[in-house]
Symmetry: C2
Subunit: 376 residues, 2 copies
DNA sequence: GATCTCTCTGCAAACCTTTGCAGTGAAGTA
DNA sequence: TACTTCACTGCAAAGGTTTGCAGAGAGATC
């Protein structure tokens, strides 16, 4: 029933190889023949069988997208952007959800490896060494994790955390809590590192609570701890946790931002919808998705794969493009942060607001596109 | 470089067909041989090439998932459930986003048709006739749209809308607005139909505003209209619009629920996080995703496809399983609905709260699983 | 008119797997 | 012992496409 290249060949009176070339190397076929073939193909509703094509060329024109948790609002914009970018280049996207489980990640990379030209690993939870090992099996681009020798797309959450701490210190907060993210998260480590350094510089004390699951519930569950810690401000690993914390504090009768200021990370769309509206570090997730796909496809064109034109000559593991892209983040100040107990008093060192890129949110206004910086 | 069935055959000293059978028909091969082959395969890291397998069997073990807008929080739980269910049965999932565009839907079905064993069409915007036509090209299961002769997974939003209107009428609202959804949406029509009927029964007047884009902004943009319409309650097409409306009303200084009550549909996770918390009709999205995948795969096993064992004998378009599944919805009462201008006064007919399945939300409590009903 | 060049097209192998059919040898039956 | 049955394995074709190679014909050059 399905119409094949052979049917088109018969209908247009040429050999199948001519039909094939009409699609994959049009410049090699006579314009007249070409239009005739194209017309017949259109008529019959012919679509090349990608499995057969993949079998011989060694490229599937598919990519895999491995996501820690699709239901986490951080990811959908990334997925959407990645899928759109891929489709523009005639690639289709497998999406798989690992439920924040490292073992599932590994299994999925294996399962997908033979079926895709490359895999995007988004916020992986598995170890660096395992990722490196898997990268020998299939081209990989990693989002939100830094690995030497592998193409990575990073968001500068370090800068973001620094801005957030400076913002809080500038408002007169000296006891600040950090709600850590999940174990194995590069982003979490990075935030912790940068926030710690920024706090030291600003003369503030940072209490780390966690690790925690990166969910609303993870934040909610820490509300009691936050109150007990006696801090006046909290930086959360992500917006979901910050929002959960808002819930929890509300339930405990703690006023935000009057008693405790809260800052999130990600700027997911609902951070504008909570009461108070959430101050947060905006991460360019859509740009990350697009960039990651571009890097993967770039790598893919550099490195010919199996097919017989292919290069068994190319040494395994030698990747030409190992660029790491660092995307800028930006602090968006809304209503969940306010003056702290030391507001107005002199603070040791540090300027009023610090040099970070801050932005007072215009309610409902468009998101400012983040610039990006290419390194290495 | 990639290890094929031939390598395994050589290593274990058997013919490739034996290796093949070891994986696809283990009972046909001697246990001793089997363990030996399996060991070699494991050793070499062999994974069957699904493209080659697809070429001959006619089944790809992939399915397509076509989504109106991944960034709409309604969909991620559905995607997540569908992907998980599919993977349980050793299927992988292509996800594609159409940006609410009917033309993109059609194009994607075509593009995916040759590459998948079936497609899940979620909340399609294209016409019924086009869907029917496409279903002749590839097995289809439709979510949130009713089509005779095609397997559909529906959520009983009609019942939900009825419960919502009865709830509002019971609270003493007689002028109610309905924020319609996007053009082409079955759900929107269904809500409108049921809400209209329920309003008539309850002696209330229903003003329809729309169609609108099913987004936060779509709701926000209608706030002014809602105020001008002079209604005391609003039922929105979905939570996103309801939340946008909350925003808009807040900006206009209209108090919710004191001046206007608002009800949404979907019970997305952020509906618990707005202030006031949103009263809404919960739709079982995860169950819908699971069910839809089950129906698709069921259909798939019924209908052998191309391969040479396949049935050119099976008449095109003859589908055995055209079951339609209707999943229950449930009104979840939170804080965005309150007494209306006619509260306490006698109303024409209608009981106090109507017979629908209502539930007062326990804050933060677990979602109640919805039962389901199989029809046809 | 012969030779060369160039453009276009056809031929056939190859990609990796599945599967109907046939063959082998051992065990069971008469 | 001769025959059947059975479990297992090998053979080879098939699936739809790409692509190196070679051939055909037309036009250009001498």
């Amino acid at each position: 029933m399905p119409v094949t290249i052979r049917d088109v060949a018969r209908a247009s009176g040429v050999h199948i190889s001519t039909v094939s070339r009409t699609f994959s190397a049009p410049h090699l076929v006579n314009p007249e023949t070409r239009v005739r073939v194209l017309a017949c193909a259109e008529d019959l509703g012919y679509r090349p069988n990608r499995a057969a094509r993949a079998l011989i060329t060694g490229r599937t024109h598919n990519i895999g997208l491995i996501i820690a948790d699709i239901a986490n609002p951080f990811f959908p914009p990334l997925i959407k952007a990645a899928e759109s970018q891929a489709r523009h280049r005639d690639y289709h996207v497998f999406v798989a959800d690992t439920n924040e489980d490292a073992a599932a990640e590994e299994e999925l990379v294996h399962a997908l490896a033979k079926q895709v030209d490359g895999v995007l690993l988004c916020s992986p939870r598995m170890s660096n060494s395992l990722i490196e090992q898997l990268s020998r099996e299939v081209p990989l681009v990693v989002v939100n994790r830094q690995l030497a020798g592998l193409p990575c797309v990073l968001m500068d959450v370090g800068q973001g955390a620094r801005s957030a701490i400076e913002h809080l210190a500038g408002l007169g907060h000296r006891e600040i809590a950090l709600l850590g993210g999940p174990r194995g998260s590069w982003t979490s480590r990075e935030i912790r590192r940068a926030a710690g350094a920024a706090a030291r510089t600003a003369g503030a004390e940072l209490t780390v609570l966690g690790p925690n699951p990166p969910t609303e519930h993870g934040g909610l569950a820490q509300a009691e701890q936050v109150r007990r810690a006696g801090v006046s401000a909290v930086l959360a690993y992500n917006d979901l946790m910050a929002i959960g914390l808002l819930e929890g504090l509300d339930a405990l009768g703690v006023a935000v931002p009057q008693e405790v200021s809260v800052v999130g990370v990600d700027d997911i769309s609902l951070s504008r919808l909570t009461r108070p509206k959430l101050t947060t570090v905006a991460t360019p997730t859509a740009a990350a998705g697009r960039t990651a796909v571009d890097m993967l496809l770039q790598q893919d064109t550099d490195l010919p794969r199996t097919g017989r034109a292919g290069g068994a000559a190319v040494a395994v593991g030698v990747r030409r493009t190992t660029a790491q892209v660092m995307l800028q983040t930006e602090l968006v100040i809304r209503d969940s942060t306010g003056p702290g107990p030391y507001a107005g008093r002199e603070r040791p060192g540090a300027t009023a607001a610090g040099p970070g890129p801050h932005r007072r949110a215009d309610p409902g206004g468009p998101r400012v596109a983040a610039g990006d910086v290419v390194a290495s």
